[in-house]
C-alpha cells in the first residue's frame, strides 16, 4: 500500500482559471463541492486532458448517492472529454478536487463505490491458501508473492484527492494499493474535514 500526503497548490480557483475552462464551464462548475479533474500531459497527444476509463461510472455513482447539499461535476467540456485505458489491472478511480465541507460525504460514497465495484466481487472469488506442511496451518503469504504472478493479486486501486479548506489551502492525498485497504486510506482524509 502506498499512501502519500502532500501540501498542494491546487484549489478550485486554480483549476477554474485554467486555459481550457471556458466561461460557460466555469459558471457551471462554480458552486460544485466535488470536481473530477483531468490528468494533464499524461501522454503526448493533441488534447492533453484525459480521464481514466470508468469515469462515467464514478460520476454516475456519486450523482446517485450525493445528498442535495453537495454536488459533483467534471472539469471538462462535454466535447473535450476523452478517456485513457492503460489496461493494467490497477483500477484508476481518478483525480478528485473537493471542498473540506464535502469530505465526510465523499469518504462515505467513495468507500461504498470501491466496495460495490471491487471488494464485493473479490470476496466471492476462490482463494488459494499456502499450507505449512509441518504444522498443517496456513502461511501468511499471498499466492501472488510466492508464485511471482501479479495477476493473482486482489484488485488494486489508484486515486488522488485534493482537499481544499475554507481559506483555499490544500492537501493532496494519493493512494495506490489494494482496494480492501480503502477504509484505512479514507480515514486519513477525515483529518481535513470541516
Amino acid at each position: 500500500m502506498e499512501l502519500t500526503i502532500n501540501d498542494s497548490n491546487d484549489n478550485f480557483e486554480t483549476w477554474l482559471n485554467k486555459e481550457f475552462v471556458t466561461a460557460d464551464l466555469k459558471k457551471l462548475l462554480a458552486d460544485k463541492s466535488i470536481l473530477l479533474i483531468p490528468f494533464e500531459n499524461l501522454r503526448d497527444t493533441p488534447n492533453p486532458l484525459m480521464f481514466p476509463i470508468g469515469t462515467e461510472n464514478v460520476l454516475r455513482y456519486f450523482r446517485e448517492n450525493l445528498p442535495a447539499s453537495q454536488t459533483i461535476d467534471i472539469c471538462i467540456r462535454d466535447e473535450d472529454y476523452q478517456e485513457f485505458a492503460f489496461y493494467s489491472d490497477y483500477k484508476r478511480l481518478g483525480n478528485f478536487l473537493i471542498k473540506s465541507v464535502a469530505v465526510a460525504v465523499f469518504v462515505n460514497i467513495l468507500s461504498a463505490y470501491v466496495y460495490d465495484q471491487y471488494i464485493k466481487e473479490d470476496d466471492t472469488k476462490p482463494q488459494i491458501q499456502i499450507i505449512d506442511k509441518s504444522t498443517n496451518t496456513t502461511i501468511n503469504n499471498h499466492i501472488s508473492n510466492l508464485t511471482g504472478k501479479k495477476y493473482l493479486e486482489p484488485t488494486h486501486i489508484k486515486f488522488s484527492v485534493t482537499v481544499v479548506d475554507s481559506v483555499g489551502k490544500s492537501k493532496n492525498i494519493s493512494y495506490e494499493g489494494p482496494a480492501s485497504e480503502i477504509d484505512d486510506v479514507l480515514k486519513s482524509l477525515k483529518d481535513y474535514e470541516e
Partner: protein, 279 residues
C-alpha cells in the same frame, strides 16, 4: 427455469448449444412483450450455459496441449463470471460455477505466463450498445454499463480511438496478450513456455467436471539442491557465470510446491510435483 439447468454439468457441448438456442427464442418473445425481468432471467441462464461451453472448450484444448488457446478460453470465462456475479449470487453447489471458478484460479497458479502486452488507448467517442446514442459524459443516455436491457448486457462501443502505445505489464486488464518469442530465421512465433505442470495435471483428470484441487506449500531453496557444486564453479544453469554470482544467489529464497488432489489418478507417477520458481 432453474430446473432446466439442474444437471448442466452432464450436458454435452451440443446439448448446451441447443438449450441456448431454445432460450434465445423464449427471450425474444419476452423482449417483444417488454417483460424485462424474464428476459434478464434468461440472459442469466444463457450466460451460465456460455460459461459451461467455454469450460468444455478450454478443457479439450488443454488436454490437446493447445495451451495458449485454452488460456484464452479461461480468460473469457473469468470475464463472463464477473459480469454474471452482478446479477446472480450463487453458492458452491449451483450450476458447478464454483468448480469452474476454482479450476480457473488453480490453473492460473500453475500456468507459466507472467508477462503481458498491454495496449494504451485513448477513447474519444463512445456509443451505448442499447440505444446507440453517443455518450455525453455530463448527460449520458441513462443505460448503465453491465446492466441487462432487453436480455442483453449494456456496454459501450468505442467509435473513435487512438492507440498510444504498448507496454509490458504483469497485471494486465485482460490476460489474452501473452508474450511469445519469435524465431529470428523463420519469423514464426515460438512458444517458449514450459507446460510440464499442466500436462502433469491433465494426465490425471479425465473430464471438465471431475473434481480436483491444488494444494500449495512453500519450500526453501537449499545449497544441496545444486549437488556438490562449489561457490566458484561455473553455474550449472549454463549462464557462464560463477555459481555464487548466479543461482547461488537464490539460496534461501522461497518457491512454491504444488500437490494435486484428484479423484481418479492414473498410475503414471506420484501425485506430487515441485517447481523451482524461475523468479
Amino acid at each position: 427455469m432453474k430446473s432446466r439447468l439442474y444437471n448442466i454439468h452432464q450436458l454435452s457441448y451440443d446439448s448446451l448449444t441447443e438449450l441456448h438456442q431454445e432460450l434465445q427464442k423464449e427471450k425474444e418473445d419476452f423482449v417483444k412483450e417488454n417483460n424485462q425481468e424474464k428476459a434478464k432471467e434468461i440472459w442469466i441462464f444463457q450466460t451460465i450455459i456460455e460459461i459451461h461451453k467455454l469450460f468444455h472448450n478450454s478443457f479439450k484444448l488443454l488436454k490437446d496441449k493447445s495451451y495458449y488457446k485454452g488460456w484464452c478460453q479461461l480468460e473469457r470465462i473469468e470475464i463472463n463470471i464477473s459480469g454474471l456475479k452482478r446479477h446472480l449470487t450463487y453458492n458452491k453447489k449451483d450450476f458447478f460455477l464454483w468448480h469452474i471458478e476454482k479450476s480457473i484460479k488453480n490453473l492460473q497458479v500453475i500456468f507459466p505466463y507472467r508477462l503481458f502486452a498491454s495496449m494504451e488507448a485513448l477513447k474519444k467517442k463512445k456509443e451505448c450498445s442499447v440505444c446507440n446514442q453517443e455518450i455525453s459524459i455530463r448527460n449520458p443516455c441513462g443505460h448503465i454499463i453491465g446492466e441487462i436491457y432487453n436480455g442483453e448486457m449494456c456496454h459501450r462501443i468505442v467509435t473513435e480511438a487512438e492507440v498510444l502505445g504498448i507496454s509490458l505489464v504483469e497485471n494486465p486488464g485482460n490476460k489474452y496478450s501473452v508474450m511469445f518469442l519469435k524465431d529470428e530465421k523463420t519469423g514464426e512465433q515460438v512458444d517458449q513456455y514450459n507446460y510440464h505442470t499442466i500436462d502433469y495435471l491433465f494426465a490425471h483428470i479425465h473430464s471438465p467436471f471431475e473434481i480436483w484441487d491444488l494444494e500449495v506449500s512453500e519450500r526453501e531453496i537449499k545449497k544441496s539442491d545444486y549437488g556438490n557444486i562449489g561457490r566458484n564453479d561455473k553455474c550449472s544453469c549454463n549462464s557462464g557465470k560463477k555459481f555464487k554470482k548466479c543461482c547461488g544467489l537464490k539460496i534461501g529464497g522461497k518457491y512454491p510446491h504444488y500437490e494435486f488432489i484428484v479423484i481418479n489418478p492414473t498410475d503414471e507417477t506420484l501425485l506430487t510435483n515441485t517447481l523451482k520458481a524461475s523468479r
